[in-house]
């Protein structure tokens, strides 16, 4: 402000004084105080009649607003200043409005006329200012009211106004999509505007619009193409290329047309931003399919220039572009692995992250060692102050795990090395949140899948469990390490050491889920320690075992009262078992003559854990288990009692709740049954086999009755079968017992449930198939020679049913669901920086003007309502005249009663007042009111009509909402 306003001594503070004052404040407290007093001064000044005072106050507030102080209370005064006659004041008013007005500013509705006036001003500077202001403060109602005015401005004589008007249209469309229809032809004209700035503005707007709903703008392609080939304005070219990137995916023919000019630009331009945009367009416009080797080679080659410069920015965007191209052409990108690898150690973390992201795609068996080594070195802090930020360290750990486990460990040739890497990772990621669990999961995965290194992995896990450092620094990994040592206790050299370590942990040092795993692992290790005959059962050995057992009892007792239900349940169950074991050991004779270990330990315990081996199971397998015949998921277990007619709302609510619960219960039941049992699986397969009419040779002899009998029998058995509950089900979500070569079972007798079941299962052809296909890799002996690391056997995930076909369908389904979920999520919980453009996304220019139709419909209804009202009024009048009695009617029910009575022939007009009668007629009210409007005879009262019309309008709005909903869906699909 170089006008005289600020220098007039009448102000307490000019803007300069204010700014100086703030700068003079020593600390934040003084500043706050100063600003508070300044604001209260402004509150006074802003009420002044003198526009100069007012303007200065608004200006000061705008300055303070920038520093984060609220000025919404002054909105009205801002509006006053905006409507000033003086340009200088107006300018400040608009500035303050742009800074402070929001969607919830209520004075905006007062601004319409003022904006209209400014838009119509003869001074183009006023017009331009109004447009600029509008771009920030436009609301749906302003957009609706000013759309026409702005449309005119698009044809203003001055290009300065035209370009602004064009640009503001986008903001207008966001608020009021309907304006798009009326202004689209003019927008199109503006592509031919003689002034390049206007054309550029139009391209900008169309580019943004096309991002939301590209289909509308395909007809513009020829004009746009013309601009692309003739213009030399890089700003506009970038936008137009971006615009084509939105159009190309929905019109594949564009590709052939676009590739030559874009190639031309790529090869000739010196502007990196344009070059980058072209490459981006080719990638995101879907022009890079697998066959387009040449195009891809050119893009990848051009991008290499970005890395040869010293400019970090170019490196960064180059990596971004490579990250996109690598999805279709990994080999081409891999040719530039050298420059990408260099970026892995760049001082700039953003660049490093992108490079690491990219490297995951580029590693192969030869480079994996080197890459992992480099990344691991980054995790080790050289000096104390060089520690990398946590999010980056997490990122690096995840990428390491990612690149190693990619394609079921396709790149890992030496799993001992991998286990060593995992162990090192645990050590160097101390204090990094959550990655412990991820590393642990990998260790578990390797232990389960790669038999050849299982002993090695178990050894590593055992070291973690016994290491106090791990407990302190990276406890999450112990959940998995604990599981591994338990499940593969067979490989432990000193089970008693591990047992000691596990039962001697400090209470509360582990989280509940980890405690649960530990409690499960302890009996497994115990059965290995005490149940095997590696040490002959002597008196002294028995005493050792007894001591250990008592320790375990003490350990379990600690958790028997845990707040966590899982921990509590597991510990209580095992507690009983171990108490029995203690008794069994004590009952043994106390000498060394002819001693065998108690059957409880040697047989029962080992059969609990060692019967089958766990194999990895595909996460999708469970979903593919068909629902068995006779299991109706919708059937209620406990059908609700028949309720009397007079049930009130509360009862209905209650019933609904009960039903919901039942549904949940039944679902849960099915779930657990499916998850836990081989039997259900078998059953289901059987039923499937039966359905398919493809009985096996064995099954042919079985008739339905036999099957049914067996089913019953099995169900009975399952009720008592201790093996039926899968204990480690929670921990080993991915794994399930399915290997059926249970040679170790010593309990097998004639009526052994296991054996019987096994027979049952084997009788089913599909199950046989599965065993054949899965058992094949697993049954191979673990005597894999380590000298041939390239052929390490990695157990595949077990799955069920036709893998390929089901997979396809499944993933498609999932994708669709995820997409719709994502869409819904986006609309529900949008980020604050995301512009809400839902209106535009669904706005189709080709669709008929539904709005018009809606409006007509509403008009029609309005007319009908009016008619009905008039009739009703007339009828009421007549009625009164006829009876000469003024009837007070408070409830329409009463009237209906009256009307019903009339229809019956009673000519009395006496209103029914008995409550009993009211009750009776209530149920009929709904129907009768409908009739009332149609007949609209003398009896109908105004009230009734209103009621009905209300209903009608509600219906209409409902219909409209439905239509909108459909439109939305269409939009999304499109």
């Amino acid at each position: 402000m170089s006008t005289g306003i600020k220098k007039t001594p009448l102000f307490k503070k000019s803007l300069h004084d204010l700014i100086r004052g703030i700068r003079a404040c020593k600390d934040s407290e003084a500043t706050d105080k100063y600003i508070r007093s300044a604001i209260s001064e402004c509150r006074q000044e802003i009420l002044s009649q003198d526009m100069d005072f007012k303007t200065m106050a608004v200006m000061k507030l705008a300055y303070l607003q920038m520093l984060g102080h609220d000025m919404t209370w002054a909105s009205f005064n801002v509006l006053e200043v905006m409507s000033s006659q003086k340009f200088a004041q107006k300018r400040i008013g608009y500035l303050a409005a742009m800074q402070s007005f929001g969607a919830d500013t209520d004075v905006l509705m007062l601004a319409t006329n003022m904006l209209k006036k400014d838009l119509a001003s003869s001074n183009h500077l006023d017009v331009a200012m109004a447009i600029s202001g509008l771009s920030n403060i436009v609301s749906p109602s302003l957009a609706r009211d000013l759309a026409e005015d702005l449309l005119k401005m698009m044809n203003h004589s001055k290009p300065y106004v035209r370009k602004k008007a064009v640009l503001v249209m986008y903001k207008l469309f966001l608020q009021y999509p309907e304006a798009l229809r009326s202004s689209f032809p003019r927008l199109r004209e503006k592509l031919e505007d003689p002034e390049v700035a206007v054309v550029s503005a139009t391209v900008n707007v169309i580019c943004e619009l096309a991002k939301k709903h590209p289909k509308n703008y395909l007809p513009l392609a020829p004009q746009l193409f013309n601009i692309l080939t003739t213009s030399s304005n890089n700003w506009m070219l970038i936008k137009i290329i971006k615009l084509f990137a939105s159009l190309a995916p929905i019109e594949p023919r564009l590709k052939a047309k676009l590739v030559p000019p874009i190639t031309n630009i790529i090869q000739t331009t010196t502007a990196m931003s344009l070059l980058y945009e072209c490459v981006n367009c080719i990638v995101s416009g879907g022009m890079l399919s697998k066959e387009d080797e040449q195009l891809a080679t050119m893009c990848v080659g051009k991008l290499r220039i970005f890395f040869e410069e010293t400019d970090q920015n170019l490196k960064f965007v180059g990596l971004l572009a490579y990250n996109k191209i690598v999805l279709t052409h990994p080999l081409l990108v891999a040719q530039n692995a050298d420059v990408i690898m260099d970026c892995m150690d760049d001082p700039d973390l953003s660049i490093r992250e992108r490079a690491v992201e990219l490297v995951v795609y580029l590693v192969n068996t030869d480079t994996l060692f080197e890459v992992v080594k480099r990344l691991m070195l980054q995790l080790i802090p050289q000096t104390r102050d060089q520690v990398l930020p946590e999010h980056y360290r997490i990122e690096v750990v995840r990428r390491i795990l990612n690149m190693c486990s990619k394609d079921t460990y396709a790149n890992v040739t030496n799993f001992e090395w991998y286990v060593a890497v995992l162990v090192d990772l645990v050590k160097i990621t101390e204090g990094v949140k959550d990655v412990g669990a991820e590393i642990g999961a990998e260790l578990q995965n390797v232990a389960v899948r790669v038999r050849s290194v299982r002993d090695y992995a178990v050894g590593a896990a055992a070291r973690m469990v016994t290491d106090k450092d791990v407990m302190i620094k990276n406890p999450r990994v112990l959940k998995y390490a604990g599981w591994v040592v338990g499940e593969y206790a067979l490989y432990l050299d000193n089970p008693e050491v591990i047992l000691d370590a596990m039962i001697n942990i400090e209470p509360q040092s582990l989280s509940h889920d980890m405690e649960a795993v530990y409690i499960q692992a302890v009996p497994k290790i115990y059965s290995q320690y005490a149940g095997t005959d590696r040490v002959p059962w002597t008196y002294s050995h028995a005493q050792e075992i007894l001591l250990m057992t008592e320790k375990i009892v003490a350990y379990l007792e600690k958790y028997a009262t845990s707040m966590d239900i899982e921990v509590q349940e597991r510990s209580v169950e095992f507690l009983e078992l171990f108490r029995l074991i203690t008794l069994a050991i004590k009952e043994r004779p106390n000498d060394d003559m002819d001693l065998t270990s108690p059957a409880l330990i040697s047989q029962v315990m080992s059969s609990m854990f060692n019967l089958w081996e766990l194999n990895p199971v595909s996460a999708k397998a469970q979903k593919r288990i068909p629902v068995p015949d006779g299991l109706d998921l919708d059937e209620e277990f406990n059908p609700p009692a028949v309720y009397s007619e007079s049930e009130d709302e509360e009862e209905a609510l209650l019933r609904e709740m009960v039903m919901k619960q039942q549904e949940q219960n039944s679902a849960k039941n099915v779930n657990s049954a499916a998850a836990a049992s081989v039997t259900v699986k078998a059953k289901s397969k059987k039923s499937k086999a039966a359905r398919d009419g493809a009985p096996s040779s064995e099954e042919e002899s079985e008739d339905e009755e036999e099957i049914e009998r067996r089913r019953q029998e099995r169900r009975r058995r399952q009720a008592e079968d201790p093996y039926y509950i899968l204990e480690s089900d929670k921990v080993v979500s991915k794994s399930r017992r399915s290997r059926r070569e249970s040679s170790s079972s010593e309990l097998s007798g004639p009526d052994d449930p296991m054996k019987n079941e096994k027979l049952d299962i084997d009788a089913i052809p599909i199950m046989k198939l599965e065993i054949a296909s899965i058992a094949a890799p697993v049954t191979k002996k673990k005597s894999k020679r380590r000298s041939q690391p390239a052929h390490v056997e990695i157990a595949r995930e077990e799955t069920f049913g036709d893998d390929g076909a089901a997979d396809g369908v499944d993933s498609d389904d999932n994708m669709a669901r995820r997409k719709s979920l994502a869409a819904r999520g986006a609309s529900q919980k949008k980020g604050i920086l995301r512009v809400d453009a839902r209106g535009l996304e669904n706005y189709d220019l080709d669709s008929p003007d539904e709005d018009e139709a809606d409006r007509q419909e509403v008009e029609k209804f309005k007319a009908e309502i009016l008619e009905a009202r008039q009739k009703a009024a007339k009828a009421a009048e007549e009625e009164v005249m006829a009876t000469h009695i003024v009837v007070k009617k408070k409830k329409k029910k009463a009237k209906v009663v009256k009307k019903v009575k009339k229809r019956e022939g009673t000519n009395e007009t006496k209103p029914a007042k008995e409550p009993a009668e009211k009750e009776e007629t209530t149920q009929d009210t709904e129907e009768t009111t409908q009739e009332t409007t149609q007949e609209t005879t003398q009896e109908t009262t105004q009230e009734t009509t209103q009621e009905t019309t209300q209903e009608k309008t509600q219906e209409t709005s409902q219909e409209k909402a439905d239509e909108n909903g459909e439109k939305n869906v269409e939009g999304h699909e499109a």
Partner: protein
């Protein structure tokens, strides 16, 4: 949406300008300013000028003691955004004449006006460097003309009483007839308009 916001930040983390092309509440704005400030101030030289923030990107560049920060959509072109920032700095440099942080602090509204001519609704509005400044000087001239009119109308009673000071406007040094104020370099554009105004009062 091309540019979502432009923030000018001093090295000490003080906001010198904050222009929003989205309508957000004060609270949301403050949060973004705070987050982005921490991100940007934490960067060292030799790092690239792009950052990721939530689902958007932040492009920044440091000029002397000021960080110029622009928030863009994740699909937007980072390199061209840097160009926009640079263009803005160039424009201010020309307007203020070798711009420094203090110029922007004490004439913050001018910085907004320039930005309003460069960008509208977050889109680049004018790629011609000359045109942007021409518009600003037109507006300034209009303002000056009004201001002069007003000043003189206010002072008229006093001026008429003090012979010999008839052309003093009460603020600056004694004016030399025919020369414009030396605070900006757009005297030529303004002189023509203001001159005509003077003719009316001092003729």
């Amino acid at each position: 949406m091309a540019v979502q916001y432009v923030i000018l930040l001093s090295r000490q983390g003080k906001v010198r300008l904050a222009k929003w092309f989205l309508t957000l509440s004060l609270k949301e704005k403050s949060k973004i300013v705070k987050d982005v400030s921490t991100l940007v101030l934490g960067r060292r030289t030799k790092m690239c000028n792009f950052l990721e923030y939530k689902e958007s990107k932040v492009v920044y560049r440091r000029y002397a003691s000021l960080f110029f920060i622009a928030g863009i959509d994740s699909t937007d072109n980072e390199l061209i955004t840097l160009e926009i920032i640079h263009r803005y700095v160039e424009q201010m440099d020309r307007y203020y004449g070798n711009v420094c942080e203090l110029d922007i602090i004490f004439n913050f509204q001018k910085a907004y006006y320039i930005l309003d001519e460069l960008l509208l609704a977050g889109e680049i509005q004018e790629s011609s460097k000359r045109d942007v400044l021409r518009r600003i000087s037109q507006q300034d001239a209009l303002e000056e003309a009004e201001g002069d009119e007003e000043k003189f109308s206010r002072l008229m009673p006093y001026i008429s009483q003090i012979p010999g000071l008839s052309s003093y406007d009460g603020s600056g040094p004694l004016p030399v007839p025919g020369s414009g104020s030396s605070s900006t370099s757009f005297s030529s554009a303004r002189a023509s308009r203001v001159g005509s105004g003077r003719d009316v009062y001092y003729g």
